[in-house]
Symmetry: C2
């Protein structure tokens, strides 16, 4: 008896509109009215799918992390030598220059926002943190890391570096040379990996 509208598809549409607005105007501009307009529906319609604004934001954040996790999985399957693959993977998790729908940027904005939104930031639900953890444990598995490496410490160091690079790319992206981030990540990887182990870049 319903109108033939897929509930979940519609929710995804709205979440994508939210995502887009967050990138364009920040969380500040992500009012329900703005989002409804962006999604091409009415306030009442939006309200039908998400009874509360917070519910919509949580849903959108989940979508963004799911998207990033999926991209991570794809990048893991590329056919390349291990160290080069990992480098490409990390680069792939930075804001793409010119892409208008960057999941990385949206994640960063929402991550910082979490400081003032009641619910505290949970790294275990952060797709980027998970990706970095996977990468590090892969390096361990392949025995590419230098001896006496503190895995936990290096994980956190790389994670911080990724957040900083993402921020830099987002805020001064145009100013930077195209593969500045690539060179930095390459240097970083070389500094934590064994030398001459065939993995050298």
């Amino acid at each position: 008896m319903p109108k033939l509208i897929d509930h979940d598809t519609k929710k995804l549409d709205i979440a994508h509109a939210t995502w887009k607005i967050i990138l364009k105007e920040g969380v500040r501009g992500a009012s329900v009215r703005n989002i409804a307009k962006e999604a091409g529906i009415t306030l009442g319609a939006l309200r039908y799918y998400f009874t509360t604004q917070d519910e919509l934001l949580v849903y959108t954040e989940d979508l963004i992390h799911a998207t990033l996790a999926e991209r991570t999985a794809e990048l893991f399957m590329v056919d390349l030598p291990p160290q080069e693959k990992i480098l490409q993977l990390l680069i792939g998790l930075l804001p793409e220059t010119g892409s208008g729908s960057s999941a990385v940027e949206a994640r960063l904005i929402l991550k910082l926002q979490s400081k003032h939104s009641g619910k505290s930031f949970d790294a275990s639900r952060d797709s980027i943190y998970q990706a970095v953890k996977s990468i590090m444990s892969n390096l361990v598995m392949l025995n590419l890391l230098k001896k006496e490496t503190d895995l936990s410490l290096e994980t956190d160091r790389l994670y911080a570096l990724m957040d900083g690079l993402a921020m830099d790319a987002m805020l001064r992206g145009a100013v930077n040379k195209p593969d500045k981030a690539r060179n930095i990540l390459e240097t970083h990887l070389n500094s934590i990996c064994k030398e001459g182990s065939g993995g050298q870049l």
Copy 2:
């Protein structure tokens, strides 16, 4: 003929109130009314010193950067062996655990906000970027860096690392071990400095 109120002192008071609110509630909560209440004055009074909200925010951001630059200068004068001094300096530019008036945190919030505030982020006005640049050129001067170091690249790498660490400390500060950041920075410094040059930590 005026009431004996130091204009600049009052402006600083208001800016400090703004600063405090930004930490507590984010830029979103930094409405002129909220700020006026925090500063213990009326909306009209606030409006007398800052005719526009944006003017107040710019003023506050300048204050924060000036505060950080001052702290950097102080930390540069501590009497310690070079490499240890630099380590302490970097640690001093991360969010202090438990301090309710962290300039570093406020800077980070405003930095990210710059994406959606029209005016684009200018690294040359960023106190942290300047500090990192000073630190790196000091390492060069003291001949502590490894041969074949790309100075510009390592500057940007350390800068990104600092931003990432600041973010981490701010968002999951309680979760982290007290000197996690210290260990990370120590590792990082050792990895870019010559070994056995007497600067080893």
